[in-house]
């Protein structure tokens, strides 16, 4: 990009295994923990922060609380008067917050912005939660009266693959198993203590019930509570910050490229419009190629890892060919060849992704950016991809309606 560089200065995520309703905590407590942790980790100080952008999907429904941006002001006396805003694009909410933070920095309006992604979802029954999630799709048409609208929609994504290219569910099971395996290496992952393996993912039964269509429990990301706080900064702030840490600005990760597209809301419309095209979800593909172009990448092989939006195994299956790891429809090859596993040519979701690490809806985009940051700064601990220099993230909202891609690197 010819515009000013925007730096990513790391941050903090809460433990996605926690249940904040059981802890009797307000959603702002989760934001506060993410924020306080981020200060400790990044050594950014309250007075550095000039705005706070909050990504959240539906606290109105899950927590009966809107206006989340304003809670940030309570976290420190220095924040009185701080400009804040909440951003929403369903499951892509905090990626949108990050995009806007990038724009504000490039416009020269602010030098350092806290981007918080947050969702508290364990406040309601699974049925009610599934219904709430339905508001990320066209509720009246795609969700009302349907018990699990999103498993149904993403099951249909699998059906489209099956019809156009063929699809073997065992490849989906492999995706699930890899994400669970990676999650075991991630101390913040929701499922890190859960048992899951490929054999279990292949089997339908008491402990792996069929939800709808081809989607079983192990194909789904699970209801998760979590918050993430990361920092985006201008060149000017990054220079000062690097000095503070005794580093050079060049050592700090930045946003190398990005893509942002919106497809038509209804899944049937998406699919009807992609009929005869190489990619099932052309607008997801465009967000990816836009990001490659802006980052000056030739293709996916210029990346060292990907954090993608595996809300269901089918969405990761889609991401594999849409990122260009294989020809369209051939995602299974990358799975069979071990390309996407830790140690593979291009690991996907070293963190465990949404299936393994968890999917607190509004927090996921920020969590992906934080994990990209950790990878390129080699601070990902047990789930580090050795020597990672460039990592892509794909955060989608609805049935791949809102698509946001970032390339993070140095």
């Amino acid at each position: 990009m010819s515009r000013e560089n925007v730096y990513l200065l790391g941050g903090y995520q809460t433990d996605f295994a926690r249940n904040w309703a059981r802890e009797n905590k307000h959603i702002s407590a989760m934001m506060r923990e993410a924020y306080e942790g981020s200060l400790a980790v990044t050594r950014i100080e309250p007075r550095d922060i000039q705005a706070a952008f909050i990504g959240n999907f539906a606290a109105e429904l899950y927590c009966m609380q809107g206006h989340l941006g304003a809670f940030f002001v309570d976290f420190d006396p220095a924040f009185r008067g701080l400009p804040t805003c909440r951003f929403e694009g369903a499951c892509a909410s905090s990626a949108l917050a990050a995009l806007s933070a990038m724009a504000h920095i490039q416009a020269g309006l602010y030098d350092c912005i806290a981007v918080v992604g947050v969702e508290q979802m364990k406040t309601v029954s699974p049925a009610k939660g599934g219904d709430y999630l339905g508001t990320a799709a066209w509720y009246e048409r795609e969700s009302a009266g349907i018990e699990f609208p999103f498993p149904k929609l993403f099951g249909k994504l699998g059906d489209v693959y099956e019809a156009r290219y063929g699809l073997d569910n065992r490849h989906l099971a492999r995706i699930a198993a890899i994400n669970y395996a990676n999650a075991k290496l991630n101390p913040n992952a929701q499922t890190r203590d859960w048992f899951m393996d490929y054999n279990h993912a292949c089997r339908t039964g008491q402990y792996n019930t069929a939800i709808v269509g081809r989607i079983k429990v192990t194909d789904c990301s699970q209801v998760t509570d979590g918050a993430v706080c990361i920092y985006l900064a201008s060149e000017r702030f990054a220079a000062e910050y690097a000095r503070r840490l005794g580093q050079t600005p060049a050592a700090l990760p930045r946003i190398l490229g990005w893509g942002h597209t919106t497809a038509p809301m209804e899944f049937v419309t998406k699919v009807a419009e992609s009929e005869g095209q190489p990619y099932v979800l052309p607008w997801t593909r465009k967000a990816i190629t836009d990001a490659y172009r802006r980052a000056g990448l030739k293709d996916c092989w210029d990346l060292d890892a990907i954090e993608t939006h595996d809300c269901f195994t089918t969405s990761e299956y889609m991401a594999i060919d849409h990122f260009g790891l294989t020809e369209p429809g051939q995602s299974w090859k990358a799975i069979e060849e071990g390309v996407i596993e830790m140690g593979g040519r291009l690991p996907i979701n070293p963190s465990g992704g949404l299936i393994g690490c968890g999917h607190p809806v509004g927090a996921t985009g920020a969590r992906q950016l934080l994990d990209a940051y950790k990878q390129v700064t080699e601070t990902a601990g047990d789930y580090q991809v050795p020597g990672a220099r460039r990592v892509a993230t794909l955060n989608i909202g609805g049935s791949a309606t809102t698509n946001v891609v970032f390339i993070v690197g140095r």
Binding site: D15, N24, E36, G37, V41, D193, W194, F195, Y207
Partner: protein, 429 residues
């Protein structure tokens, strides 16, 4: 040759500890023999293991059998024999005797005991047996509690302890706490002293009030007397007695078994295992609870205590202002506040006191921190020091409660680190 563990024989696999720990091994890809007195018992253990894993596929890794017909097959194949039989010295020793002729030299034997004197267990066994014998004290249920205290006795090969610590950490993702071979190791030694003191206070202030005051908001997922109900009052008594017998320290006098508690056991109020008779709590059909009155040993309805500083602290915790909550607790006045402060102070003082005794001095507070978090779901002592405003303020608090101020506290720097995931130990209730 590098030592590897591929096959494990679990003895006592019909019990909760044996089956769930055995299941954990199977989940992690080990081949596991589930052995107990009867094949049916082992089979029941397998079912518990499946329920813990929430998956039938682990059964592929498990072979069930009874001692008589399968010990001779399993033990020679095992790289590790995990003994989870009854917490009785003679039972364990008899089992070890049966193993002796069957086990290959070099095969690891570990016991899950924490309250027996470790040195006594392998007495009379071969040198190779003793060299490869240690305690691996898994906390229960291992699917939720990742703590595992590990300890050799005098003859144990130190390299083997190190190997097992590494194996438990890497392969089974345990929070491994190397401990010294003292009764109760680290976790039970500390927790049960506090339980004892709280049972003593309950005689005066009541069960409901004590669990309200020392409730989850003070840094634990479950209130203390409710925890004793879960453990079982009989087990509680056994642990306290073992600690009374085998340990001695400046707070030894707090290790009490109040009369009313003995009477409760005598009348069969053992806790959750005697659901109909109750324990400290008794669950009514309505889902409500009644609490035992230590004076009359009858159950009385809940009176829903409401103490202002407690409610205010919970409200601060509810919005994530943990340190503000603990400042509030620290500065609160009155009898109830004094009790909460005393218990927190006792916990901190005792934990730091035991550094060097239950864990190696070189680990500082970290081993104890880890076992309290991962074995009990309690805020660690150093985390409480952080929450209470630092070691100076904490030392003042300890002194004001007439408690020793351990040198290890004054030298500690662990508390200064930002405590990862601290909030989870402080439910707002």
């Amino acid at each position: 040759m590098e030592r590897t563990i591929q096959t494990v024989a679990v003895l006592g696999a019909s019990g909760t500890v044996g089956s769930l720990t055995g299941g954990l091994l199977a989940q992690n890809g080990l081949r596991v023999y589930f052995l107990s007195r009867t094949r049916e018992g082992s089979q029941k253990g397998l079912e518990k293991a499946i329920a813990q894993a929430r998956s039938e596929v682990i059964a592929d890794n498990i072979i069930c059998g009874d001692y008589d017909s399968m010990l001779s097959e399993a033990v020679p194949k095992a790289d590790w024999i995990l003994e989870c039989v009854a917490e009785d010295l003679s039972v364990k020793q008899a089992m070890y005797e049966r193993l002796e002729p069957l086990r290959r030299p070099g095969t690891i034997v570990s016991s899950v005991t924490s309250s027996l004197v470790l040195e006594d267990l392998p007495k009379g066994r071969s040198e190779d047996f003793q060299k490869h014998f240690l305690s691996t004290h898994f906390y229960n249920p291992p699917g939720k509690m990742s703590a595992c205290e590990i300890c050799g006795q005098s003859k144990t090969d130190p390299a083997l302890v190190e190997f097992m610590a590494d194996f438990l950490h890497r392969r089974l993702r345990r929070a491994v706490i190397p401990v010294r071979p003292t009764a109760g190791f680290a976790g039970n030694r500390i927790a049960f002293l506090l339980f004892a003191r709280i049972t003593e206070l309950a005689a005066e202030y009541g069960v409901e009030m004590m669990d309200y005051l020392i409730g989850p908001y003070t840094g634990r997922v479950m209130a203390p007397l409710a925890t004793i109900d879960l453990v079982g009052l009989d087990i509680h008594k056994a642990i306290i007695q073992s600690l009374q017998t085998h340990t001695c320290d400046a707070l030894h006098s707090k290790l009490v078994l109040p009369d009313y508690l003995e009477k409760m056991i005598g009348q069969g109020h053992l806790g959750r295992k005697t659901r109909d008779k109750g324990g400290f709590y008794k669950r009514l059909e309505s889902g409500q609870y009644e609490y035992i009155d230590p004076k009359s040993l009858t159950y009385i309805p809940a009176f829903q205590p409401h103490v202002r500083f407690v409610e205010e602290a919970k409200q601060l915790i509810h919005i994530g202002r943990y340190r503000d909550a603990f400042e509030h607790i620290r500065e609160a006045k009155g009898t109830e506040a004094g009790l909460v402060q005393e218990i927190l102070a006792t916990y901190i003082a005792y934990s730091y006191m035991l550094v060097g005794e239950v864990t190696e001095q070189k680990y500082g507070i970290e081993g104890i921190d880890r076992v309290m978090m991962t074995g009990f779901n309690w805020a660690s002592p150093s985390l409480l020091v952080y929450m209470l405003g630092g070691k100076e303020k904490t030392a003042e608090l300890l002194a004001s409660k007439g408690l020793p101020v351990p040198a290890s506290l004054l030298e500690d720097t662990v508390w200064e680190r930002y405590p990862f995931n601290a909030g989870r130990y402080f439910p707002a209730k």
